[in-house]
Assembly symmetry: C2
Homo-oligomer: 321 residues x 2
Amino acid sequence: MKLATLPDGTLDGRLHLVSRDLTRAAPAQAAQTMQTALENWTGLESALTAEYAALNQRGGTPFYPSSAMAPLPRAWQWLDGSAFESHGDLMDTVFGLAKKEKTGRPLMYQGLSNLFYGPADDVRMPSEADGIDFEGEYGVITDAVPFGADTATAGAHIRLIVQINDWSLRKLAPIEMKTGFGWVQAKPACSMAPVAVTPDELGESWRDARVDLPLLVDWNEKRFGAANGYEMAFGFDQLVAHAAYSRALVAGTVLGSGTVSNKTYREVGSSCIAERRGIEMIDQGEAKTPFMSFGDRVRMDVTGKDGQSVFGAIDQKIVKA
Amino acid sequence: MKLATLPDGTLDGRLHLVSRDLTRAAPAQAAQTMQTALENWTGLESALTAEYAALNQRGGTPFYPSSAMAPLPRAWQWLDGSAFESHGDLMDTVFGLAKKEKTGRPLMYQGLSNLFYGPADDVRMPSEADGIDFEGEYGVITDAVPFGADTATAGAHIRLIVQINDWSLRKLAPIEMKTGFGWVQAKPACSMAPVAVTPDELGESWRDARVDLPLLVDWNEKRFGAANGYEMAFGFDQLVAHAAYSRALVAGTVLGSGTVSNKTYREVGSSCIAERRGIEMIDQGEAKTPFMSFGDRVRMDVTGKDGQSVFGAIDQKIVKA
Protein backbone atom coordinates (compact mmCIF):
# COMPACT_ATOMS: atom_id res chain seq x y z
CA MET A 1 0.00 0.00 0.00
CA LYS A 2 1.19 3.51 -0.80
CA LEU A 3 -0.12 6.56 1.04
CA ALA A 4 0.30 10.32 0.76
CA THR A 5 -1.15 13.38 2.42
CA LEU A 6 -2.46 16.20 0.25
CA PRO A 7 -3.01 19.75 1.44
CA ASP A 8 -6.53 20.69 2.51
CA GLY A 9 -5.83 23.77 4.59
CA THR A 10 -5.30 21.87 7.85
CA LEU A 11 -2.02 21.05 9.58
CA ASP A 12 -2.66 17.33 9.17
CA GLY A 13 -3.82 17.41 5.54
CA ARG A 14 -5.98 14.75 3.88
CA LEU A 15 -4.87 11.14 3.62
CA HIS A 16 -4.83 9.64 0.12
CA LEU A 17 -4.11 6.25 -1.37
CA VAL A 18 -1.56 6.50 -4.18
CA SER A 19 -1.30 4.04 -7.07
CA ARG A 20 1.78 1.82 -7.14
CA ASP A 21 3.21 3.80 -10.08
CA LEU A 22 2.59 7.13 -8.28
CA THR A 23 0.44 8.51 -11.10
CA ARG A 24 -2.98 8.55 -9.42
CA ALA A 25 -4.44 9.20 -5.98
CA ALA A 26 -7.79 8.93 -4.22
CA PRO A 27 -8.85 10.26 -0.82
CA ALA A 28 -8.86 7.48 1.77
CA GLN A 29 -12.38 6.62 2.85
CA ALA A 30 -11.40 4.65 5.95
CA ALA A 31 -9.45 7.50 7.58
CA GLN A 32 -9.30 11.25 7.19
CA THR A 33 -5.65 11.69 8.18
CA MET A 34 -2.49 9.61 8.46
CA GLN A 35 -2.46 10.13 12.22
CA THR A 36 -5.97 8.73 12.66
CA ALA A 37 -5.10 5.80 10.39
CA LEU A 38 -2.07 5.00 12.57
CA GLU A 39 -4.12 5.28 15.75
CA ASN A 40 -6.37 2.45 14.53
CA TRP A 41 -4.15 0.69 12.01
CA THR A 42 -5.20 -2.90 12.68
CA GLY A 43 -8.85 -1.90 12.48
CA LEU A 44 -8.46 0.05 9.24
CA GLU A 45 -5.73 -1.77 7.35
CA SER A 46 -7.97 -4.17 5.45
CA ALA A 47 -10.30 -1.37 4.34
CA LEU A 48 -7.36 0.75 3.20
CA THR A 49 -5.82 -2.24 1.41
CA ALA A 50 -9.08 -2.77 -0.48
CA GLU A 51 -9.18 0.90 -1.46
CA TYR A 52 -5.57 0.62 -2.62
CA ALA A 53 -6.31 -2.46 -4.74
CA ALA A 54 -9.25 -0.70 -6.36
CA LEU A 55 -7.19 2.40 -7.10
CA ASN A 56 -4.51 0.31 -8.79
CA GLN A 57 -7.22 -1.15 -11.05
CA ARG A 58 -8.65 2.19 -12.08
CA GLY A 59 -9.97 5.51 -10.84
CA GLY A 60 -8.46 8.27 -8.79
CA THR A 61 -7.17 11.58 -10.07
CA PRO A 62 -3.68 12.50 -11.27
CA PHE A 63 -1.12 12.52 -8.45
CA TYR A 64 1.68 15.07 -8.50
CA PRO A 65 4.22 14.04 -5.86
CA SER A 66 5.59 17.55 -5.57
CA SER A 67 2.19 18.87 -4.47
CA ALA A 68 2.00 16.52 -1.47
CA MET A 69 2.68 17.35 2.14
CA ALA A 70 4.84 14.99 4.18
CA PRO A 71 2.88 11.72 4.52
CA LEU A 72 2.73 12.50 8.26
CA PRO A 73 3.00 16.31 8.34
CA ARG A 74 3.41 16.44 12.11
CA ALA A 75 4.14 13.67 14.57
CA TRP A 76 4.06 13.35 18.34
CA GLN A 77 7.51 11.84 18.31
CA TRP A 78 10.57 11.76 16.03
CA LEU A 79 13.48 9.62 17.09
CA ASP A 80 16.50 9.43 14.84
CA GLY A 81 19.09 6.70 14.99
CA SER A 82 22.58 6.62 13.55
CA ALA A 83 22.78 3.01 12.49
CA PHE A 84 25.36 3.19 9.70
CA GLU A 85 28.78 2.72 11.24
CA SER A 86 30.71 4.16 8.32
CA HIS A 87 28.74 7.39 8.78
CA GLY A 88 29.48 7.54 12.50
CA ASP A 89 33.19 6.99 11.96
CA LEU A 90 33.42 9.73 9.32
CA MET A 91 31.42 12.16 11.44
CA ASP A 92 33.75 11.71 14.41
CA THR A 93 36.58 12.61 12.03
CA VAL A 94 34.76 15.70 10.76
CA PHE A 95 33.82 16.94 14.20
CA GLY A 96 37.23 16.24 15.69
CA LEU A 97 35.67 13.93 18.27
CA ALA A 98 37.22 10.77 19.65
CA LYS A 99 36.00 7.76 17.70
CA LYS A 100 33.03 6.40 19.64
CA GLU A 101 33.48 3.06 21.38
CA LYS A 102 31.20 0.38 19.99
CA THR A 103 28.85 -0.10 22.93
CA GLY A 104 26.46 -2.55 21.29
CA ARG A 105 23.73 0.05 21.80
CA PRO A 106 22.08 2.01 19.01
CA LEU A 107 22.73 5.75 18.84
CA MET A 108 19.51 7.77 18.95
CA TYR A 109 18.26 11.28 19.65
CA GLN A 110 14.82 12.89 19.86
CA GLY A 111 14.16 15.75 17.47
CA LEU A 112 11.63 18.29 16.30
CA SER A 113 8.46 16.44 15.28
CA ASN A 114 5.73 19.05 15.05
CA LEU A 115 6.62 19.78 11.43
CA PHE A 116 7.91 17.64 8.60
CA TYR A 117 8.41 19.66 5.43
CA GLY A 118 6.66 18.43 2.30
CA PRO A 119 8.89 17.24 -0.55
CA ALA A 120 8.90 20.53 -2.48
CA ASP A 121 8.66 23.05 0.36
CA ASP A 122 11.38 25.64 0.64
CA VAL A 123 13.56 24.95 3.67
CA ARG A 124 14.24 27.89 5.99
CA MET A 125 17.66 28.24 7.55
CA PRO A 126 19.01 31.08 9.71
CA SER A 127 22.52 31.44 8.28
CA GLU A 128 24.90 29.94 5.72
CA ALA A 129 27.62 30.27 8.37
CA ASP A 130 26.04 27.41 10.34
CA GLY A 131 27.20 24.78 7.84
CA ILE A 132 23.92 23.79 6.20
CA ASP A 133 23.87 20.12 5.26
CA PHE A 134 21.41 17.44 4.19
CA GLU A 135 21.21 13.89 5.57
CA GLY A 136 19.43 11.37 3.38
CA GLU A 137 17.94 8.53 5.34
CA TYR A 138 15.20 5.95 5.58
CA GLY A 139 12.61 5.93 8.33
CA VAL A 140 9.68 3.95 9.65
CA ILE A 141 6.39 4.98 11.19
CA THR A 142 4.87 2.82 13.90
CA ASP A 143 1.45 2.50 15.37
CA ALA A 144 1.29 2.30 19.20
CA VAL A 145 4.17 0.21 20.54
CA PRO A 146 3.84 -1.19 24.07
CA PHE A 147 6.17 -0.11 26.86
CA GLY A 148 9.14 -2.48 26.91
CA ALA A 149 8.36 -4.17 23.57
CA ASP A 150 10.94 -6.76 22.48
CA THR A 151 12.44 -6.75 18.99
CA ALA A 152 9.82 -9.06 17.46
CA THR A 153 6.94 -7.07 18.93
CA ALA A 154 8.56 -3.81 17.90
CA GLY A 155 9.05 -5.07 14.34
CA ALA A 156 5.38 -6.01 14.07
CA HIS A 157 4.42 -2.40 14.81
CA ILE A 158 6.38 -0.98 11.88
CA ARG A 159 3.52 0.04 9.62
CA LEU A 160 5.12 2.33 7.07
CA ILE A 161 8.48 3.09 5.53
CA VAL A 162 9.41 6.62 4.54
CA GLN A 163 12.37 8.55 3.17
CA ILE A 164 13.63 11.53 5.12
CA ASN A 165 16.04 14.42 4.79
CA ASP A 166 17.30 15.24 8.27
CA TRP A 167 18.59 18.79 7.78
CA SER A 168 21.62 19.59 9.90
CA LEU A 169 23.70 22.60 10.89
CA ARG A 170 27.25 21.25 11.07
CA LYS A 171 28.95 24.17 12.78
CA LEU A 172 26.53 23.86 15.70
CA ALA A 173 26.45 20.06 15.87
CA PRO A 174 29.77 19.39 17.64
CA ILE A 175 29.17 22.23 20.10
CA GLU A 176 25.88 20.63 21.12
CA MET A 177 27.33 17.10 21.10
CA LYS A 178 30.08 18.04 23.53
CA THR A 179 27.45 18.93 26.13
CA GLY A 180 26.12 15.35 26.00
CA PHE A 181 22.59 16.77 25.71
CA GLY A 182 22.26 16.16 21.97
CA TRP A 183 21.06 18.56 19.33
CA VAL A 184 18.47 21.32 19.43
CA GLN A 185 19.75 24.21 17.29
CA ALA A 186 21.72 21.87 15.00
CA LYS A 187 18.62 19.95 13.97
CA PRO A 188 15.89 22.08 12.36
CA ALA A 189 12.74 20.49 10.92
CA CYS A 190 13.21 17.46 8.62
CA SER A 191 11.65 16.78 5.22
CA MET A 192 9.79 13.67 4.09
CA ALA A 193 9.39 12.20 0.61
CA PRO A 194 5.77 12.35 -0.57
CA VAL A 195 4.80 8.69 -0.37
CA ALA A 196 4.86 6.30 2.61
CA VAL A 197 4.77 2.60 1.78
CA THR A 198 3.87 -0.53 3.73
CA PRO A 199 6.71 -3.05 4.20
CA ASP A 200 5.11 -5.60 1.82
CA GLU A 201 5.22 -2.98 -0.92
CA LEU A 202 9.03 -3.19 -0.93
CA GLY A 203 8.97 -6.95 -1.51
CA GLU A 204 12.43 -8.46 -1.21
CA SER A 205 13.90 -4.96 -0.83
CA TRP A 206 12.58 -4.97 2.78
CA ARG A 207 15.04 -7.37 4.31
CA ASP A 208 15.96 -7.90 7.99
CA ALA A 209 13.95 -4.76 8.81
CA ARG A 210 16.18 -2.72 6.52
CA VAL A 211 15.63 -1.07 3.11
CA ASP A 212 17.88 -2.85 0.64
CA LEU A 213 17.83 -0.12 -1.99
CA PRO A 214 20.19 2.73 -2.87
CA LEU A 215 19.17 6.25 -1.93
CA LEU A 216 19.96 8.57 -4.83
CA VAL A 217 21.05 12.01 -3.65
CA ASP A 218 21.64 14.93 -6.02
CA TRP A 219 23.00 18.30 -4.92
CA ASN A 220 22.32 21.07 -7.42
CA GLU A 221 21.45 18.48 -10.07
CA LYS A 222 24.70 16.58 -9.68
CA ARG A 223 24.77 13.04 -8.28
CA PHE A 224 26.27 13.12 -4.81
CA GLY A 225 25.53 9.69 -3.39
CA ALA A 226 23.84 6.37 -3.99
CA ALA A 227 24.42 4.46 -0.77
CA ASN A 228 22.34 1.38 0.02
CA GLY A 229 20.10 1.20 3.10
CA TYR A 230 20.91 -2.38 4.02
CA GLU A 231 24.17 -1.76 5.86
CA MET A 232 22.53 -0.72 9.15
CA ALA A 233 24.22 -2.15 12.25
CA PHE A 234 20.75 -2.45 13.80
CA GLY A 235 17.48 -3.17 12.01
CA PHE A 236 14.53 -0.84 12.42
CA ASP A 237 12.91 -3.47 14.66
CA GLN A 238 15.88 -3.20 17.03
CA LEU A 239 15.77 0.60 16.91
CA VAL A 240 12.07 0.62 17.78
CA ALA A 241 12.66 -1.80 20.68
CA HIS A 242 15.55 0.37 21.90
CA ALA A 243 13.26 3.41 21.95
CA ALA A 244 10.48 1.47 23.73
CA TYR A 245 12.69 0.38 26.65
CA SER A 246 11.36 3.01 29.04
CA ARG A 247 8.37 4.44 27.18
CA ALA A 248 5.37 3.33 25.19
CA LEU A 249 5.67 4.70 21.65
CA VAL A 250 2.71 6.78 20.61
CA ALA A 251 0.98 5.87 17.34
CA GLY A 252 2.64 7.88 14.61
CA THR A 253 6.15 7.69 16.03
CA VAL A 254 8.68 8.32 13.26
CA LEU A 255 12.01 6.59 13.67
CA GLY A 256 14.98 7.24 11.39
CA SER A 257 17.96 5.16 10.31
CA GLY A 258 20.44 7.99 10.40
CA THR A 259 22.35 9.03 7.29
CA VAL A 260 22.53 6.17 4.80
CA SER A 261 26.20 5.30 4.39
CA ASN A 262 28.24 2.41 3.07
CA LYS A 263 31.76 1.25 3.82
CA THR A 264 32.41 1.64 0.08
CA TYR A 265 31.75 5.37 0.37
CA ARG A 266 34.52 6.24 -2.03
CA GLU A 267 32.60 4.37 -4.74
CA VAL A 268 28.95 4.98 -3.87
CA GLY A 269 29.27 8.52 -2.55
CA SER A 270 27.57 9.99 0.47
CA SER A 271 24.13 11.06 1.65
CA CYS A 272 25.45 14.22 3.33
CA ILE A 273 28.19 16.78 2.69
CA ALA A 274 29.87 16.27 6.05
CA GLU A 275 30.78 12.70 5.11
CA ARG A 276 32.43 13.82 1.89
CA ARG A 277 34.37 16.38 3.90
CA GLY A 278 35.46 13.58 6.23
CA ILE A 279 36.71 11.55 3.28
CA GLU A 280 38.58 14.61 1.99
CA MET A 281 40.16 15.11 5.41
CA ILE A 282 41.36 11.50 5.40
CA ASP A 283 42.48 11.42 1.75
CA GLN A 284 43.67 14.98 1.17
CA GLY A 285 44.34 16.32 4.65
CA GLU A 286 41.59 18.92 4.57
CA ALA A 287 37.91 19.33 3.80
CA LYS A 288 37.35 20.98 0.42
CA THR A 289 33.65 20.69 -0.33
CA PRO A 290 31.78 23.64 1.19
CA PHE A 291 28.42 23.32 2.91
CA MET A 292 25.24 24.61 1.25
CA SER A 293 24.35 28.14 0.16
CA PHE A 294 20.94 29.78 0.02
CA GLY A 295 19.34 28.83 -3.28
CA ASP A 296 20.97 25.40 -3.40
CA ARG A 297 18.75 22.43 -4.15
CA VAL A 298 18.81 18.85 -2.90
CA ARG A 299 16.98 15.99 -4.53
CA MET A 300 16.53 12.52 -3.05
CA ASP A 301 14.87 9.57 -4.75
CA VAL A 302 14.76 5.79 -4.47
CA THR A 303 14.22 3.53 -7.45
CA GLY A 304 12.66 0.13 -6.75
CA LYS A 305 13.57 -3.17 -8.42
CA ASP A 306 10.79 -2.40 -10.92
CA GLY A 307 12.58 0.77 -12.02
CA GLN A 308 9.94 3.08 -10.56
CA SER A 309 10.28 5.68 -7.82
CA VAL A 310 9.27 4.10 -4.51
CA PHE A 311 8.62 7.16 -2.34
CA GLY A 312 8.52 9.94 -4.93
CA ALA A 313 11.29 12.52 -4.85
CA ILE A 314 12.24 15.14 -2.31
CA ASP A 315 13.40 18.21 -4.25
CA GLN A 316 13.89 21.34 -2.19
CA LYS A 317 15.61 24.68 -2.09
CA ILE A 318 17.31 26.30 0.89
CA VAL A 319 16.12 29.83 1.69
CA LYS A 320 17.01 32.42 4.29
CA ALA A 321 14.59 32.28 7.25
CA MET B 1 -5.06 33.14 35.84
CA LYS B 2 -4.87 29.52 36.94
CA LEU B 3 -5.77 26.66 34.64
CA ALA B 4 -6.08 22.89 34.94
CA THR B 5 -7.17 20.03 32.71
CA LEU B 6 -9.67 17.53 34.07
CA PRO B 7 -10.22 14.07 32.63
CA ASP B 8 -13.09 13.64 30.18
CA GLY B 9 -12.08 10.42 28.47
CA THR B 10 -9.96 12.11 25.79
CA LEU B 11 -6.17 12.35 25.59
CA ASP B 12 -6.36 16.15 25.81
CA GLY B 13 -8.90 16.36 28.64
CA ARG B 14 -11.11 19.37 29.38
CA LEU B 15 -9.67 22.79 30.17
CA HIS B 16 -10.84 24.38 33.43
CA LEU B 17 -10.29 27.67 35.20
CA VAL B 18 -9.20 27.11 38.79
CA SER B 19 -9.77 29.60 41.61
CA ARG B 20 -6.69 31.30 43.03
CA ASP B 21 -6.92 29.23 46.23
CA LEU B 22 -7.23 25.99 44.20
CA THR B 23 -10.55 25.05 45.86
CA ARG B 24 -12.94 25.48 42.92
CA ALA B 25 -12.94 24.95 39.16
CA ALA B 26 -15.19 25.66 36.20
CA PRO B 27 -14.94 24.41 32.61
CA ALA B 28 -13.45 27.07 30.34
CA GLN B 29 -16.04 28.43 27.95
CA ALA B 30 -13.59 30.11 25.57
CA ALA B 31 -11.62 26.94 24.79
CA GLN B 32 -12.20 23.21 25.10
CA THR B 33 -8.58 22.20 25.66
CA MET B 34 -5.32 23.75 26.78
CA GLN B 35 -3.81 23.12 23.34
CA THR B 36 -6.57 25.02 21.56
CA ALA B 37 -6.27 27.86 24.07
CA LEU B 38 -2.55 28.11 23.36
CA GLU B 39 -3.12 28.06 19.60
CA ASN B 40 -5.20 31.23 19.90
CA TRP B 41 -3.96 32.72 23.16
CA THR B 42 -4.07 36.38 22.23
CA GLY B 43 -7.60 35.97 20.89
CA LEU B 44 -8.89 34.09 23.94
CA GLU B 45 -6.93 35.55 26.84
CA SER B 46 -9.35 38.30 27.73
CA ALA B 47 -12.35 35.94 27.70
CA LEU B 48 -10.48 33.43 29.87
CA THR B 49 -9.38 36.21 32.22
CA ALA B 50 -12.99 37.30 32.64
CA GLU B 51 -14.05 33.72 33.35
CA TYR B 52 -11.25 33.49 35.92
CA ALA B 53 -12.30 36.71 37.64
CA ALA B 54 -15.90 35.48 37.86
CA LEU B 55 -14.82 32.12 39.27
CA ASN B 56 -12.78 33.84 41.98
CA GLN B 57 -15.92 35.77 42.98
CA ARG B 58 -18.14 32.70 43.23
CA GLY B 59 -19.34 29.60 41.45
CA GLY B 60 -17.56 26.56 40.11
CA THR B 61 -17.43 23.14 41.69
CA PRO B 62 -14.93 21.75 44.19
CA PHE B 63 -11.46 21.24 42.67
CA TYR B 64 -9.37 18.30 43.79
CA PRO B 65 -5.85 18.85 42.44
CA SER B 66 -5.03 15.15 42.62
CA SER B 67 -7.83 14.33 40.18
CA ALA B 68 -6.42 16.58 37.46
CA MET B 69 -4.44 15.53 34.42
CA ALA B 70 -1.31 17.46 33.51
CA PRO B 71 -2.42 20.99 32.51
CA LEU B 72 -1.15 20.11 29.01
CA PRO B 73 -1.45 16.31 28.93
CA ARG B 74 0.45 15.98 25.65
CA ALA B 75 2.54 18.52 23.80
CA TRP B 76 4.07 18.73 20.34
CA GLN B 77 7.39 19.72 21.84
CA TRP B 78 9.21 19.39 25.18
CA LEU B 79 12.60 21.03 25.48
CA ASP B 80 14.41 20.82 28.77
CA GLY B 81 17.21 23.10 29.79
CA SER B 82 19.77 22.69 32.53
CA ALA B 83 20.07 26.25 33.69
CA PHE B 84 21.21 25.79 37.30
CA GLU B 85 25.00 25.68 37.31
CA SER B 86 25.30 24.07 40.74
CA HIS B 87 23.23 21.16 39.39
CA GLY B 88 25.40 20.76 36.31
CA ASP B 89 28.60 20.77 38.33
CA LEU B 90 27.31 18.12 40.74
CA MET B 91 26.02 15.92 37.92
CA ASP B 92 29.39 15.93 36.18
CA THR B 93 30.83 14.69 39.48
CA VAL B 94 28.19 11.96 39.79
CA PHE B 95 28.58 10.75 36.22
CA GLY B 96 32.37 10.88 36.29
CA LEU B 97 32.39 13.33 33.39
CA ALA B 98 34.82 16.17 32.88
CA LYS B 99 33.37 19.39 34.24
CA LYS B 100 31.70 21.12 31.30
CA GLU B 101 33.32 24.28 30.02
CA LYS B 102 31.11 27.34 30.42
CA THR B 103 30.28 28.08 26.79
CA GLY B 104 27.84 30.92 27.39
CA ARG B 105 25.21 28.75 25.71
CA PRO B 106 22.27 27.16 27.50
CA LEU B 107 22.21 23.37 27.80
CA MET B 108 19.06 21.86 26.32
CA TYR B 109 17.68 18.56 25.05
CA GLN B 110 14.44 17.50 23.40
CA GLY B 111 12.42 14.84 25.20
CA LEU B 112 9.27 12.76 25.15
CA SER B 113 6.29 15.11 24.83
CA ASN B 114 3.33 12.96 23.83
CA LEU B 115 2.54 12.23 27.47
CA PHE B 116 2.87 14.23 30.66
CA TYR B 117 1.70 12.27 33.69
CA GLY B 118 -0.96 13.86 35.85
CA PRO B 119 0.04 14.78 39.41
CA ALA B 120 -1.25 11.61 41.07
CA ASP B 121 -0.67 9.06 38.30
CA ASP B 122 1.49 6.06 39.09
CA VAL B 123 4.80 6.31 37.23
CA ARG B 124 5.91 3.22 35.31
CA MET B 125 9.57 2.29 35.28
CA PRO B 126 11.23 -0.77 33.77
CA SER B 127 13.75 -1.62 36.50
CA GLU B 128 15.08 -0.43 39.85
CA ALA B 129 18.55 -1.25 38.53
CA ASP B 130 18.37 1.75 36.19
CA GLY B 131 18.79 4.23 39.04
CA ILE B 132 15.33 5.79 39.21
CA ASP B 133 15.46 9.45 40.18
CA PHE B 134 13.23 12.51 40.23
CA GLU B 135 14.16 15.99 39.00
CA GLY B 136 12.04 18.82 40.35
CA GLU B 137 11.93 21.80 38.04
CA TYR B 138 9.96 24.75 36.80
CA GLY B 139 8.77 25.09 33.23
CA VAL B 140 6.98 27.46 30.89
CA ILE B 141 4.50 26.88 28.10
CA THR B 142 4.58 29.17 25.08
CA ASP B 143 2.16 29.95 22.33
CA ALA B 144 3.60 30.05 18.80
CA VAL B 145 7.08 31.63 18.82
CA PRO B 146 8.46 32.95 15.52
CA PHE B 147 11.54 31.42 13.90
CA GLY B 148 14.58 33.30 15.17
CA ALA B 149 12.78 35.22 17.92
CA ASP B 150 15.04 37.40 20.07
CA THR B 151 14.95 37.28 23.86
CA ALA B 152 12.32 40.00 24.26
CA THR B 153 10.02 38.44 21.68
CA ALA B 154 10.56 35.01 23.17
CA GLY B 155 9.73 36.29 26.64
CA ALA B 156 6.46 37.79 25.42
CA HIS B 157 5.35 34.36 24.24
CA ILE B 158 5.69 32.76 27.67
CA ARG B 159 2.03 32.27 28.52
CA LEU B 160 2.07 29.84 31.41
CA ILE B 161 4.34 28.61 34.18
CA VAL B 162 4.23 25.02 35.34
CA GLN B 163 6.03 22.74 37.74
CA ILE B 164 7.51 19.51 36.37
CA ASN B 165 9.10 16.30 37.59
CA ASP B 166 11.54 15.18 34.89
CA TRP B 167 11.95 11.48 35.76
CA SER B 168 15.43 10.17 35.04
CA LEU B 169 17.25 6.84 34.90
CA ARG B 170 20.71 7.60 36.23
CA LYS B 171 22.50 4.42 35.27
CA LEU B 172 21.59 5.01 31.63
CA ALA B 173 22.15 8.76 31.56
CA PRO B 174 25.97 8.85 31.34
CA ILE B 175 26.01 6.06 28.74
CA GLU B 176 23.71 8.11 26.53
CA MET B 177 25.55 11.37 27.27
CA LYS B 178 28.87 9.93 26.13
CA THR B 179 27.43 9.39 22.65
CA GLY B 180 26.72 13.12 22.34
CA PHE B 181 23.22 12.27 21.12
CA GLY B 182 21.49 13.05 24.42
CA TRP B 183 18.95 10.93 26.25
CA VAL B 184 16.24 8.61 25.01
CA GLN B 185 16.06 5.64 27.38
CA ALA B 186 17.26 7.72 30.35
CA LYS B 187 14.34 10.13 30.10
CA PRO B 188 10.91 8.51 30.38
CA ALA B 189 7.72 10.61 30.44
CA CYS B 190 7.67 13.59 32.83
CA SER B 191 4.97 14.62 35.30
CA MET B 192 3.31 18.02 35.67
CA ALA B 193 1.76 19.65 38.72
CA PRO B 194 -2.02 20.09 38.31
CA VAL B 195 -2.24 23.85 37.84
CA ALA B 196 -0.61 26.09 35.23
CA VAL B 197 -0.45 29.80 36.08
CA THR B 198 0.03 32.95 34.04
CA PRO B 199 3.15 34.98 34.87
CA ASP B 200 1.12 37.83 36.45
CA GLU B 201 -0.30 35.30 38.92
CA LEU B 202 3.15 34.94 40.49
CA GLY B 203 3.43 38.67 41.15
CA GLU B 204 6.90 39.64 42.32
CA SER B 205 7.84 35.95 42.46
CA TRP B 206 8.12 36.04 38.63
CA ARG B 207 11.35 37.97 38.33
CA ASP B 208 13.76 38.23 35.37
CA ALA B 209 11.82 35.43 33.69
CA ARG B 210 12.56 33.14 36.63
CA VAL B 211 10.42 31.70 39.44
CA ASP B 212 11.69 33.20 42.69
CA LEU B 213 10.15 30.59 44.97
CA PRO B 214 11.48 27.45 46.64
CA LEU B 215 10.41 24.09 45.25
CA LEU B 216 9.58 21.79 48.15
CA VAL B 217 10.52 18.19 47.41
CA ASP B 218 9.62 15.28 49.71
CA TRP B 219 10.79 11.72 49.15
CA ASN B 220 8.71 9.17 51.05
CA GLU B 221 7.25 11.95 53.20
CA LYS B 222 10.61 13.31 54.25
CA ARG B 223 11.81 16.75 53.13
CA PHE B 224 14.57 16.32 50.56
CA GLY B 225 15.00 19.78 49.07
CA ALA B 226 13.75 23.35 49.05
CA ALA B 227 15.88 25.03 46.40
CA ASN B 228 14.81 28.36 44.94
CA GLY B 229 14.10 28.78 41.22
CA TYR B 230 15.74 32.16 40.82
CA GLU B 231 19.34 30.99 40.47
CA MET B 232 19.06 30.10 36.76
CA ALA B 233 22.06 31.15 34.67
CA PHE B 234 19.62 31.93 31.86
CA GLY B 235 16.05 33.20 32.18
CA PHE B 236 13.21 31.34 30.52
CA ASP B 237 13.09 34.11 27.90
CA GLN B 238 16.68 33.32 26.95
CA LEU B 239 15.96 29.58 26.89
CA VAL B 240 12.98 30.11 24.57
CA ALA B 241 15.08 32.31 22.26
CA HIS B 242 17.85 29.69 22.23
CA ALA B 243 15.35 27.03 21.15
CA ALA B 244 13.88 29.30 18.47
CA TYR B 245 17.22 29.95 16.75
CA SER B 246 16.60 27.47 13.93
CA ARG B 247 12.93 26.57 14.36
CA ALA B 248 9.59 28.21 14.97
CA LEU B 249 8.19 26.93 18.27
CA VAL B 250 4.79 25.36 17.94
CA ALA B 251 2.03 26.62 20.24
CA GLY B 252 2.10 24.47 23.35
CA THR B 253 5.87 24.09 23.49
CA VAL B 254 6.89 23.17 27.04
CA LEU B 255 10.32 24.36 28.09
CA GLY B 256 11.96 23.33 31.36
CA SER B 257 14.51 24.96 33.65
CA GLY B 258 16.36 21.78 34.49
CA THR B 259 16.63 20.56 38.07
CA VAL B 260 16.21 23.44 40.50
CA SER B 261 19.46 23.76 42.41
CA ASN B 262 21.20 26.34 44.56
CA LYS B 263 24.85 26.91 45.35
CA THR B 264 23.84 26.55 49.00
CA TYR B 265 22.80 22.97 48.35
CA ARG B 266 24.17 21.75 51.65
CA GLU B 267 21.62 24.00 53.40
CA VAL B 268 18.59 23.92 51.09
CA GLY B 269 18.90 20.33 49.90
CA SER B 270 18.36 19.04 46.39
CA SER B 271 15.59 18.47 43.87
CA CYS B 272 16.99 15.09 42.77
CA ILE B 273 18.79 12.18 44.39
CA ALA B 274 21.78 12.31 42.04
CA GLU B 275 22.73 15.73 43.40
CA ARG B 276 22.73 14.48 46.96
CA ARG B 277 24.91 11.58 45.84
CA GLY B 278 27.28 14.11 44.27
CA ILE B 279 27.50 16.02 47.53
CA GLU B 280 28.18 12.75 49.37
CA MET B 281 30.94 11.90 46.91
CA ILE B 282 32.56 15.28 47.52
CA ASP B 283 32.08 15.31 51.30
CA GLN B 284 32.38 11.63 52.21
CA GLY B 285 34.20 10.09 49.27
CA GLU B 286 31.30 7.96 48.12
CA ALA B 287 27.60 8.13 47.30
CA LYS B 288 25.47 6.70 50.09
CA THR B 289 21.87 7.57 49.26
CA PRO B 290 20.36 4.91 47.01
CA PHE B 291 18.10 5.68 44.07
CA MET B 292 14.36 4.93 44.25
CA SER B 293 12.57 1.62 44.76
CA PHE B 294 9.19 0.53 43.44
CA GLY B 295 6.54 1.82 45.82
CA ASP B 296 8.50 4.95 46.71
CA ARG B 297 6.65 8.26 46.58
CA VAL B 298 7.77 11.74 45.59
CA ARG B 299 5.87 14.90 46.42
CA MET B 300 6.61 18.34 44.99
CA ASP B 301 4.88 21.56 45.95
CA VAL B 302 5.47 25.30 45.78
CA THR B 303 4.11 27.73 48.35
CA GLY B 304 3.51 31.29 47.20
CA LYS B 305 4.15 34.45 49.19
CA ASP B 306 0.51 34.21 50.31
CA GLY B 307 1.18 30.84 51.93
CA GLN B 308 -0.96 28.92 49.44
CA SER B 309 0.08 26.23 47.00
CA VAL B 310 0.78 27.84 43.62
CA PHE B 311 0.62 24.85 41.25
CA GLY B 312 -0.96 22.20 43.50
CA ALA B 313 1.16 19.22 44.46
CA ILE B 314 2.66 16.40 42.45
CA ASP B 315 2.42 13.26 44.61
CA GLN B 316 3.23 10.02 42.82
CA LYS B 317 4.31 6.46 43.35
CA ILE B 318 6.82 4.48 41.28
CA VAL B 319 5.51 1.16 39.94
CA LYS B 320 7.01 -1.63 37.83
CA ALA B 321 6.07 -1.20 34.17
